[in-house]
Symmetry: C2
Subunit: 683 residues, 2 copies
């Protein structure tokens, strides 16, 4: 570390602190304490280590920075501003205002330079593990002798809150197992959380915990002023290639404020006199706001230049790579661009009704088996349910540290362990890195464990695919603890998430087709344990519209709309009804979100006026009223037993649905008047 | 440990193993491996230590046993049978069949002797922490010199899967902090999970991790045959009064099977020849099934008798307690019975429209402040958001180990730390113990982190209350990472869960009133950050029906139905519309689940036919179609900004809703025909 610049360091750090106080004061809302306490580490990290080009914020080999304690985002916005990202002083002044680039927590895809969305505690930590996995994987696949193309580090700042969250514990354990030497976490050990001193609830030995996970554990006793120690710790973290590093950094929250070291500075603006005193103490003009001394501007311009030069050199290296490894070059360039290889979709399996009935989890496996050879972008996995989820295709290698003898970093299957929440958040990090499409399996019911990560996939527009098997009472004997009831509507109600529930082979192919084409939308593909017949009328093209008429009749008396394993039961019911002269259409609606995005004319042709529409699904009926006049589903919990008996118990059989259908037809006949599509609305 | 009975021990253990193999074979579904591996520990624990009366399974001071790896439930069902609970050999034969007492995973309230519902991994571990907290708390409140009334231990069996889950990590950390000496966990370290050897994903040092949490850590190297070591470890766990204990027990999964030690015995029945060989090896008749030797029957009868004697003595002690401490006796007896004290509800605050507008989180605090003195049953807490959730009433003591100087075990407020999922699962354990009604706060958005625990509260009928503040875009500047969209419908779709969203002071009192009266139903009370006016027409009685007419007019043109912070906006819109001659009713629907349980006539009087019904809520509109013809809500994510500006941005203002209302009225006029209540259905 060069100490010629000691004065610049001090003024830079104090500039960050003063800007943090000014920004939170201007918005009269936000968290000044952690930014002020973490300013020294942030300054050392960005001025000395982080290699990224602010003018080209998507360069693939940039170092990634994650602020897991996202409530401290003022710190990140200030750094982005100083480094020359598209965050201006005016943007800082608009902190936490509608439409600004500086929302209350960092949002990926919203603000230039923000890698992942943080704020919900623990997520960023696990995202960091995902970013590090992505680097290790792409590096292992594409780096060649003399071509160290993918070499970046992932730096994570975290606070006490994140480390208390289970999602971070899960991620830390798997990161240690995976020996991710490219991951460096700086833990802001400021002894303060919202309820006060951490001694009231968080007295574990964090260093020992991370040692138990197999991390390199370092500490800096004076994170407020000992810049050399901060520098050395980060440098040591970079040196350790076979372990992730955590640096416990003892800091004073709100350093410089009259209230430093108390939770009074955690989540409220500093008082005006406190800010004035702070500025005076640090040698700033007490009357000026949002001031950035020239020396600081220059120091950060130098850091930015280091990134720009690095990208320039990298581009040159990548051109040489093109000459020597044209195939790998083309593939990596394509993957970075986010484009899928031409014609990949021709590999998707196509079925006819003559093909044997199979569980849709098995159909999913067939898809994965078929597309894996043409889509190197895929990085699969499961939360310790591989044999049930059928997520691991044959003859592939696991993603493992080579020293384990169990795989390599070029492997394409991650053994996540029983860690659903971390798996979701890690997938977000992998997707955020670029060049990889992560997918992973668990039972649908346990995607709920990862709800916090799933909603951030959707908000952050990460292309993440959940292979959610055992998706209803059809899982049978495991019983109600494992049978989803509320799960479908929970995820259907999330904006920008595609919840697919395919009914057969072609619909399963369609679900994967759309999920893989949707670069900015996560998908949950909900799959059966039990066998499902291939349906007459189902095609990939039709199902790819999210909903379609599976069985058409003119002047119908009834339409039954259904999804997944219940569609064939709807078809059976329609057959029974038709024998009794009740003309019955069947609509399959495997993905509400995709169907809703179709044009109105199409939607109204599928769920048309003229006859009542009855929905059928082995879940809570909540939400189905949007697409149907009448709803049949589960009114309570499932039960433990063989699945066929369960379907009988709950009335989800062809004969019973036919009976229900008759009641519906009679009811609407008796009521009289036009039966209008539920899609026709006043506004 | 007495070794006169060594032969009995061996035959007992082998009986458990053989019964496990028989039971899983009979159902052709289930997990024999862990029961066979854990049989020695289970036998030693139940034959030597557990004090509980099988003929009186609700005795308050019984030792609690939790099988966190619930997929191994055959083990638990066998023990319950041997001990004389209401589980017969025929029940074992009906394992995993519909309607049996032996479902695929243990269900509290379903099977005699099952304390908590397990299977979803990690939950049972955290439930165990809750059970231990409950014991510590009730003991501290009611035990007196010479009257050790509440002294039981909580024993938890756990596998690798549970320990990988974040919810268990969170619970372990807080259990260490709380120094729960009454908690003993036996960790089945069998090196096998579903994906194979744990070395593929779970290589952390578990002992070191638990040391970091402040636990006593013991191990038994040969859990298959070293009964003395097992005995001694449990005994040592009981001796340590100031730390929870974990015993790492090295076992062989499926011990005795030809496939022992492999994941082949984890989740599938043993083959017939394997079972025969097993029986022969253990000296059983290879042709007989479900055999229990007399010596085993007697050994377990002795264990059961120990429990019966203990309860008898306890009852006698409790009678003497009545003489010396009549007030405490009456209170504890009442709490054990689950009855609330007579007249407690008179303490609930009542409001008039003249009372000032307040945030409903503040109204919740006022309720808690008012009822805490009359309801000693309450044990509150927050996931490190006390100042935001307003869950801690004045002048109370925290639940803390006395040695911290921060509180006592008699304290009534738990500092859960930022551990939402564990908080939910711990509350389930506390509720399962009896005598305590747990409540705890976090932001509504982060109740989703605990989704896995919330659904088990509902399935297990645990009375748990979530104080879920900051419940919409009304939280303002924190932005979309913190603003629920999908959350309300997620929880509304859960059977047996009351999701309350009160609109004002009286509705907040009503939510608590019903939540506290609902002994078998968990509640989430969703509360605003922003101020809400007290509404004309709102009363506790009306709101306690879950939905009611807030503002009535005859021959209406429109009804607006709404909840929480949007009800006053609906009232404002109705006022605007009425000035324009459009007669508008307003319905408040604070709890769908409670409303749905009202009689049909009442429900149809609230949401009646004759005019269109428009719903208004600042969430996804998903599900509202059940109660309304038209829906207004959020079509995407929220945003970061001051809340009033957010409501304007998203059109949730009196004038805009009045405009929407006009469109609805015109649309239905134009369409013609009768407007039928959406509640009127065909079946």
């Amino acid at each position: 570390m060069s100490f010629q610049s000691a004065d610049t360091d001090a003024v830079s750090i104090n500039t960050i602190r003063v800007l943090a106080a000014d920004t939170v004061a201007k918005s009269n809302s936000g968290h000044p304490g952690a930014p002020m306490g973490m300013a020294p580490a942030a300054h050392i990290l960005f001025s000395r280590f982080v290699t990224a080009n602010p003018k080209s914020s998507h360069w693939i080999n940039r170092d990634r920075f994650v602020l897991s304690n996202g409530h401290a985002c003022v710190l990140q916005y200030i750094l982005l501003h100083l480094l020359g990202y598209k965050v201006s002083i005016d943007d800082l002044k608009a902190f936490r205002q509608i439409g600004s680039l500086t929302p209350g927590h960092p949002e990926a895809g919203h603000t230039d330079g923000i890698e992942v969305t943080t704020g919900p505690l623990g997520q960023g930590f696990a995202n960091g593990v995902g970013l590090a996995i992505a680097q290790a994987h792409l590096g292992a696949v594409y780096n060649k002798d003399g071509f160290d193309l993918i070499t970046n580090y992932t730096y994570v700042f975290t606070g006490d809150g994140c480390l208390m969250e289970g999602v971070a514990s899960e991620a830390a354990s798997i990161a240690g197992h995976l020996q991710l030497g490219n991951l460096i976490v700086v833990y802001d050990d400021n002894h303060i959380s919202i309820d006060g001193d951490t001694k009231i609830a968080f007295t574990e030995n964090v260093e020992q915990r991370f040692l138990s996970y197999g991390w390199q554990v370092l500490h800096v006793d004076d994170g407020d002023t000992d810049l050399e120690a901060i520098y050395n710790a980060i440098a040591e973290g970079r040196k350790e290639k076979n372990k992730p590093t955590i640096i416990r950094l003892r800091t004073t929250i709100g350093y410089g404020s009259k209230q430093q070291g108390t939770h009074g500075v955690h989540g409220s603006p500093l008082k005006p006199d406190d800010i004035q005193a702070l500025k005076t103490k640090f040698g700033f003009d007490a009357a000026a706001t949002f001031a950035v001394p020239d020396a600081v501007t220059k120091a950060y311009a130098d850091a930015a230049k280091r990134g720009a030069v690095a990208e320039f050199e990298w581009n040159s290296l990548f051109e040489k790579y093109a000459e020597k490894y044209p195939k790998e070059h083309a593939e990596l360039a394509r993957r970075i661009s986010g484009e899928l290889p031409t014609g990949w979709e021709k590999s998707l399996p196509v079925y006819t009704p003559a093909d044997p009935a199979q569980a849709s989890r098995k159909l999913s496996e067939i898809v994965l088996q078929a597309i894996t050879p043409v889509l190197p972008d895929l990085l699969g996995g499961s939360a310790d349910l591989t044999g049930s989820n059928l997520t691991r295709v044959k003859n592939i290698v696991d993603f493992q540290p080579p020293s384990t003898g169990l795989g390599t970093y070029a492997g394409i299957y991650v053994r996540y362990g029983v860690r659903e929440h971390a798996m979701g958040a890690i997938m977000n990090g992998i997707a955020a890195y670029g060049g990889i499409i992560p997918f992973a399996g668990t039972f649908l019911n346990f995607v709920s464990y990862a709800a916090g990560a799933v909603r951030l996939s959707a908000l952050s527009q990460h292309q993440v695919i959940w292979v959610a098997t055992h998706d209803s009472i059809g899982l049978g004997e495991d019983g109600p603890t494992h049978q989803p009831i509320e799960t479908a509507i929970h995820f259907r109600a999330l904006p920008n998430l595609h919840f697919w529930r395919p009914a057969d082979g072609n619909e399963t192919s369609a679900a994967y087709y759309v999920a893989l084409k949707s670069k900015k939308t996560p998908s949950i593909i909900s799959l059966s344990r039990q066998n499902l017949p291939n349906l007459e009328g189902a095609t990939i093209d039709k199902a790819a519209r999210g909903g379609y008429v599976l069985h058409e009749v003119e002047k119908e008396d009834l339409t039954i709309v259904s999804t997944g394993s219940e569609v064939s039961i709807a078809v059976e019911a329609a057959g029974i009804l038709e024998k009794e002269g009740i003309k019955t259409r069947v609509v399959s609606l495997p993905c509400w979100g995709v169907f809703d995005a179709q044009d109105e004319q199409y939607r109204l042709s599928v769920l048309r006026s003229g006859a009542p529409i009855l929905s059928l699904e082995a879940y809570s009926t909540a939400g189905w009223q949007k697409y149907s006049h009448e709803q049949f589903g589960l009114t309570g919990w499932g039960a433990s037993g063989p699945y066929k008996k369960l379907y009988e118990k709950f009335g989800i059989t062809g004969p019973n649905i036919a009976d229900i259908g008759k009641k519906v037809v009679e009811f609407y006949k008796k009521r009289g008047g036009a039966v209008v599509s539920p899609l026709i609305k006043a506004f």
